[in-house]
Amino acid sequence: MVRKIFAKDNKIKTWNLGGFSTSKNIGFYYGNNLIIIKFARIFELTNFISTDSMSNDIKIRKGLDLKLMGLADKTIAAAPRSKKFAIKPTDFHGVTPKMVVKEGASVKAGEIIFFSKYSDRVKFASPVSGTIAEIRRGAKRRILEVIIEADAEDTFLEHGSKNVSGMSGEEVKELLLEGGCWPFIKQRPYDVIANPDDAPKAIFVSAMSTAPLAADVEFLLKDRMEDFKTGLEAISKLTSGKTHVSVAAGSSLADGLNGVEIHKVKGPHPAGNVGVQIHHIDPVNAGERVWVVGPEDVAIIGNFLNTGKFKADRLVAVSGSEAPKAQYFSMRVGTNVFELINKVPSSVRIISGDVLTGDQIANSGFVGFYHNTITLIPEGKEHRMFGWVPFLDNHIPSMSRTSLSFLFPNKRYKVNTNLNGEERALVVTGEMEQVLPMDIYPMQLLKECMAANIEKMENLGIYEVAPEDFALIDYTNTSKIEAQAIIREALDLMIKEVG
């Protein structure tokens, strides 16, 4: 196999211990993996990608697995059916909603309630049948929530069940657009809902999650494999290129999946981020588009095609040290959290999503459209005396070794929302690189983003990143820079200037 990879290199030396070296590479076997170290890259210490040449394994070395208290127990309870559900236009970055229903109108589950003003083919459906109770607006009359008072039982808008294998890509696309399933399909670059007029060069599904306390994808899909397969078959028709599915190394999720490229991914967070996987599989160049779909969203799409009903059901992991009961709940998209977790004290922050990328919601708020996790952690509105002294307050985890917490990598920590310092000028270098497993210089990119220098941003790889890829930089950086917000703003600028 070695000779095959380095066919052009005739100076292969094989070592007794099972390794080999060529003029430009050194390699050895580690278990079943062939690990190749490229001399050209050795000083960079970045791309120690190990590749088993037979499958498409990706091994990520850089990153950080945050171990927090309150991992959801793998039991499923049915969430009580909320009286109110909501679709929040704020979940869809860049979408300006144009309402098609008025307050008081009654809707079926799957009926379109608004569409995107600037891309009118992208439509958003009601998750339940009921009455539009309120269109809640914020500053400048921006629509924040469309709240639907649910009927006791759903009546669905019927699209009729379909046999996907006989459908063309265009037919699938039209059906998903009409059925309100399109918002599940997002694009890179820019991390926004895909434009149906684009032709993506590939589609990526990351069927794994490495974020702290995030829902376990294998568990989410356990009983939905048929829908998942149908969904994969359908979305793979949307591209002329390949459809890539990444699963965690050791997971059996990939068994029996046909027609897609499987990648086994190993490594700490953000290895599960689809953006990191894209970067290692088929990076996005200027002008290119790839589409990404969440794993459970694929199953929802599959279910829609199999049954003809927009039945956006999810398993949501309620987790975190303050969760009344850390376990999985089955629920519809847009469920109200109050009925799920009851009243929690104001000293607890409720996050729809994971602690790194999620959105804070009120106790009376609704679960986000894309979220599989609800995290409850304590607020950190407290002073800590001399908390800045190194090796004090070791109960707060730190990636830097100025806290003794690095000695206990497997301990689960209770963390709060304190900033643990104040924002400062960017001083420390080399720390951002440790949590961004991409061939990108994060600090230089962030600085160009702050300066809004479009050409430099392009050069440094803005098309390859999404805010979530910078979440760990938010978390770890000494200067408390808001990296995700900076990247989001820069991407918005790129949408405006480059498109």
Partner: protein, 385 residues
């Protein structure tokens, strides 16, 4: 603790937004946040944050400096007392040194922090912690007998021209502490070089010689110290620079905590050793034939590489760049030592020179990354065309 907190909140009231002393809030906050980590919570982005902050990082560097500082204080007394011939104890030497050095530290912090506070109030931002390290470094790289007013002027120059003129912490091109030393070196050369300044009172008492090893080598004299004295630091020199042993302890701490860049340190040692070795082979004069491993332990090389070259703001910022930057500092330090006997202390100039070139080094490292990206795009375009 909660009593103190309440008292502080009460005192803080006039500094709050819309109150009469609002403008001076940064000054108050600097003291407040020194006592307590503030109760600020995350508003956007990640909801949780690492325990590390700039204060913690800077204090870590100061902790790393302490062994060298304490040894420097002792050595100041030791150099003086051992030459006057009186019997003395460790404590005598330490007290003699402390009388000289503590006032320098006080002056350095008072002047530097004073200027930092004024700029923070004027610019309306919080006081950055960077000067905590600079303020400690400046006295440690000065000769012991330099008048306090010169320390004050040098620090003022370094902070005003070296840092604030560029926009403050994080924006400066040159290492501020080295700016202070370079300023003193060129403005008051008689206090900063020669054979009369490196031991306490050497310029007042004839019996005391204050010549450094590099100074005597440059003058073509024999070196009378053995390797252990050079390594442990019982030699004349700037206050903090003499003990490679204790500097190495600080370096180890910086590397273990991850605060100091091991790449720069390793690069510096490799570069200096390589250059020293080359000159050993050449061996045209006393400095050239001075063994390469002794080059590593005399003068300010070790201190410079560990504590000055690793300043993240003025150093190269990319991993590859750090290697190149470190190696070149080592190479140039020895080169300046050997070729220019007027400046036996090459490391200061080498670091300042490389500070200027650090952005250029990074530029080429990053340019390689950009080229990879453009090449990838070109292959894709070629394929589709």
């Amino acid at each position: 603790m909660s009593f103190l907190r309440k008292k502080l909140d009460e005192l803080k009231r006039p500094f709050n937004k819309g109150q009469k002393w609002e403008k001076f809030a940064p000054a108050f906050n600097a003291f407040d946040t020194f006592l307590f980590v503030p109760d600020h919570t995350t508003r956007k982005g990640a909801h949780i944050r690492d325990a590390v902050d700039l204060k913690r990082t800077m204090i870590t560097v100061i902790i790393a400096l302490l062994p060298a500082l304490f040894y420097g204080i002792y050595n100041t007394g030791y150099q003086y007392l051992s030459q006057t011939g009186e019997a003395f104890t460790f404590l005598d030497a330490f007290i003699h040194g402390a009388w000289k050095i503590v006032p320098m530290i006080v002056v350095s912090y008072a002047v530097g922090l004073g200027i930092e506070f004024i700029f923070a109030i004027y610019r309306g931002h919080e006081v950055n912690e960077g000067f905590l390290v600079t303020g400690m470094l400046v006295p440690m790289i000065m000769p012991v007998d330099i008048p306090l007013w010169m320390v004050a002027v040098s620090v003022a120059f370094a902070v005003l021209i070296g840092k604030e003129a560029f926009g403050g912490t994080g924006m400066n091109i040159l290492n501020p502490a080295l700016m202070a030393r370079a300023f003193a070196f060129f403005a008051y050369p008689t206090y900063m070089s020669g054979n009369k300044v490196w031991v306490s009172e050497a310029s007042n008492i004839d019996a005391v010689s204050g010549e450094t090893i590099l100074g005597s080598l440059a003058a073509g004299k024999e070196v009378t110290y053995n390797m252990w004295s050079m390594f442990s630091g019982a030699i004349p020199g700037s206050i903090g620079e003499t003990s490679t042993l204790w500097i190495a302890a600080g370096a180890l701490f910086l590397i273990l905590t991850g605060v100091g860049s091991w790449r720069i340190m390793a690069g510096g040692v490799i570069g200096a050793a390589f250059m020293g070795f080359l000159f050993n082979l050449w061996g045209a004069n006393a400095l050239m034939s001075f063994p390469w491993y002794q080059h590593l332990v005399v003068g300010g090389l070790a201190f410079g590489i560990v504590f000055m070259a690793t300043d993240p703001v003025s150093a190269a910022q990319t991993f590859k760049g750090k290697w190149i930057y470190g190696i070149l500092i080592g190479v140039f330090s020895i080169m300046i030592r050997v070729f220019n006997p007027a400046y036996p202390e090459g490391v200061m100039l080498a670091i300042l020179l490389m500070n200027v070139f650090a952005p250029t080094i990074d530029h080429y490292v990053i340019e390689a990354n950009i080229k990879r990206r453009k090449k990838r795009l070109a292959t894709v375009t070629a394929k589709s065309a």
